[in-house]
């Protein structure tokens, strides 16, 4: 099984997912419009964007669950349109608002999909027990799913991916509709998957949550990827600088001194003793040193990490119309 994943296309195991000019059209409208991306093994990759931007369609094309109009995608070296069973054997999928058979128990629901995965009886029981324990559903394993909350269903869906021992976990809107505590728990579980070396692809419109766990993100709009990269990189690209440091200190000529720090692009004077620096890197140590050099008193030194939301807002503010298309 294993050696098949390095066939003609995959000279190396990385990237695990590669899309080239991937397009899905419904009639004349392109829901996904010629996107390219590579996802490396073991990274957490976020597909971000508003509803209807083409995220779910992209995911379904990767699983061979919807037709590809043009372009191609390779998942673990397989073509999902031609070899969907090989792809689906190795990729776990947690759909948006996942559903289960309400009249069956949690363990029975997992047993059904585990049988479809082709697992033998003993192996099935062992994996299901372990997976339910890992997502914290061990004590409700024999309860009907009808009684489960949204968060529990979501975790049960993750347990299914764990049972499969998937190499890639694709999670569609995993945290939407969860309360803050359930969201935290779920993000923690995603972190555990990453620690095990599982590649995680998740889509979301909740930018701040995703920012914390994603190594790289792709921002979707109107079926296209408008921005892609690690969040700090994007901040530099879109906001002009990644870090905003505020300094509260007095001392002669501090503003000039701060502006001389390498990497600082701008210093604004907010008050008599308050300054805001915009920089390409975390310049707090340099700022502290600068204040001390001029003999000033440092009272506060704070940093705003670049927020994905700011990046997103800024990007679409710059080009708000024009290439905005409406996905059906």
């Amino acid at each position: 099984m294993r050696n098949q994943s390095t066939d003609s296309r995959g000279t190396a195991p990385d990237p695990v997912i590669a899309a080239r000019g991937l397009t899905r059209r419904y009639g004349a409208t392109a829901v996904v419009d010629g996107i390219d991306f590579d996802i490396a093994r073991g990274e957490v990759f976020g597909l971000l964007g508003p509803n209807g931007a083409g995220k779910t369609t992209t995911i379904l094309m990767m699983l061979g669950l919807t037709e590809i109009s043009s372009g191609e995608v390779s998942v673990l070296g397989f073509n999902p349109a031609r070899e969907p069973l090989k792809v689906k054997q190795r990729v776990g999928y947690l759909p948006d608002a996942v559903g289960f058979y309400d009249h069956l128990t949690a363990a029975e629901n997992l047993a059904y999909t585990a049988k479809l995965m082709g697992l033998a009886r003993a192996e099935r029981a062992r994996r299901i027990e372990a997976a339910l324990a890992r997502v914290g559903l061990a004590e409700v394993a024999s309860k009907r799913v009808a009684t489960f909350s949204r968060g529990m269903r979501q975790r049960l869906g993750l347990a299914e991916i764990i049972v499969k021992r998937a190499e890639i976990a694709i999670l569609d809107e995993p945290t939407s509709g969860l309360d803050p505590q359930a969201t935290q728990e779920f993000l923690g579980l995603i972190g555990e998957l990453k620690a095990e070396g599982i590649t995680v692809l998740l889509s979301s419109h909740m930018l701040d949550q995703v920012q914390r766990i994603c190594d790289r993100v792709a921002l979707f709009q109107g079926g296209r990827i408008v921005l892609m990269g690690a969040v700090p990189e994007l901040a530099v690209k879109v906001l002009g600088a990644g870090f905003v440091v505020e300094v509260e200190a007095d001392g002669l000529g501090i503003a000039r001194r701060l502006a001389m720090i390498p990497g600082v692009t701008q210093v604004d004077t907010l008050g008599v003793d308050r300054f805001r620096m915009t920089a390409e890197r975390d310049v707090r140590p340099d700022a502290a040193r600068a204040v001390v050099t001029v003999g000033g008193d440092l009272r506060r030194l704070s940093i705003d990490e670049p927020s994905l939301e700011a990046i997103y807002a800024r990007h679409f503010q710059i080009r708000p119309r024009g290439d905005v298309r409406h996905a059906a």
Binding site: T56, T57, L60, L63, L65, T66, R82, E83, P84, L85, K86, K88, Q89, V91, G92, Y93, L94, P95, D96, A97, V98, G99, F100, Y101, D102, H103, Y112, T113, K115, L116, M117, G118, G157, E160
Partner: protein
């Protein structure tokens, strides 16, 4: 290019799960109770009328299936009416409920093709109906033994087995139709209403409409009317139109198989009866030959409707 892997992978898993769901569902219990009680009433009528004149009928057991005592119709007629209801009840929410429960994309993300899901559901529902009909069949034979006290002969068993097989294919037509509608309509209520509408139309309205349509297509020659006869052209049109309904096909096939004296299902000309010993039963093989076109019609209907549903399901979007 061919897709890799077997379309039947996971078929047995889906089949077993769906069968277990059907057999333990309340819906199935209600349908079974309905059929068993109506069938028992019909059998009771048949038995009581048979006990009065058990003269010299070589096919006493088969009479249990076909004899009717007013106001109750015969056992076969009741089944012809209720089997569609059962098939619709098992099939109308096969696919759309998976959509609505949002389980479809999760199941299809497992390493199986859609073929396995659709086929597994179809076969499980058909097996459920088969099990119920087989139980009913045993019930009839058992009651016949107890109340009539005549052991069934080999030919009677063979003929009633043919009844069982044809009844299962008759259920298959309606099951395919109900599943097709469960693919077309996203709401199970709509699918159920449309299938029940088609069932009522074909079972109740079509037998009344077909003769009227035949009259319009081939108006009766007044010379036949003067002689007090039916125009054969009109009669043939009526029959052909009636045969568009699976209910009629089932009825005709059952008539041929369960009433061994049936020589033909169409209009008969006198010269065709020359040399025939009226009232004498036909051999088993000949009766099956008479019922064969109707049976093939039912099998073909099942396959065509299933294929329609299959194509639609393959092209359907998975997302809710």
């Amino acid at each position: 290019m061919r897709r890799e892997g077997s379309p039947f992978r996971g078929l047995s898993t889906v089949f077993v799960k769906e069968l277990a769901d059907h057999l333990s569902s309340i819906r199935m219990l209600m349908l079974e109770l309905l059929i068993v009680f109506t069938a028992l009433a019909a059998l009771y009528g048949a038995i009581s009328s048979l006990r009065q004149n058990t003269a010299e009928d070589p096919f006493l057991l088969l009479r249990l299936f076909t004899i009717d005592k007013a106001p109750l119709p015969s056992f076969v007629a009741i089944l012809g009416f209720l089997i569609p209801l059962m098939a619709i009840g098992l099939g109308f929410d096969a696919i759309n409920s998976e959509h609505n429960r949002r389980t479809l994309s999760r199941i299809l993300a497992q390493p199986i093709y859609r073929d396995a899901l659709l086929m597994g559901k179809f076969l499980a529902a058909l097996a459920t109906i088969g099990i119920s009909l087989a139980a009913l069949w045993l019930l009839v034979i058992g009651l016949g033994l107890i109340f009539l006290g005549v052991p069934p002969g080999g030919e009677e068993i063979a003929r009633s087995m043919v009844f069982l097989v044809v009844a299962i294919f008759y259920a298959g037509v309606w099951l395919s139709l109900a599943m097709l509608l469960s693919i077309v309509f996203r709401s199970p209520a709509t699918a159920a209403l449309v299938s029940l509408g088609i069932w009522l139309f074909l079972a109740v309205l079509w037998p009344m409409l077909a003769p009227a349509l035949a009259q319009a297509i081939a108006p009766a020659d007044p010379r036949y009317a003067l002689l007090g006869l039916n125009d054969p052209a009109t009669a043939i049109w009526t029959q052909e139109l009636l045969r568009l309904s699976p209910n009629d096909l089932f009825g005709e096939a059952m008539l041929a198989v369960l009433s061994p004296t049936t020589r033909t299902l169409g209009p008969v000309f006198l010269d065709q009866l020359r040399g025939a010993v009226m009232g004498s039963p036909l051999p088993f093989g000949e009766s099956v030959m008479i019922a064969w076109p109707q049976t093939v019609g039912l099998i073909a209907g099942t396959i065509v409707l299933f294929a329609f549903g299959y194509v639609l399901f393959q092209r359907q979007e998975v997302r809710a």
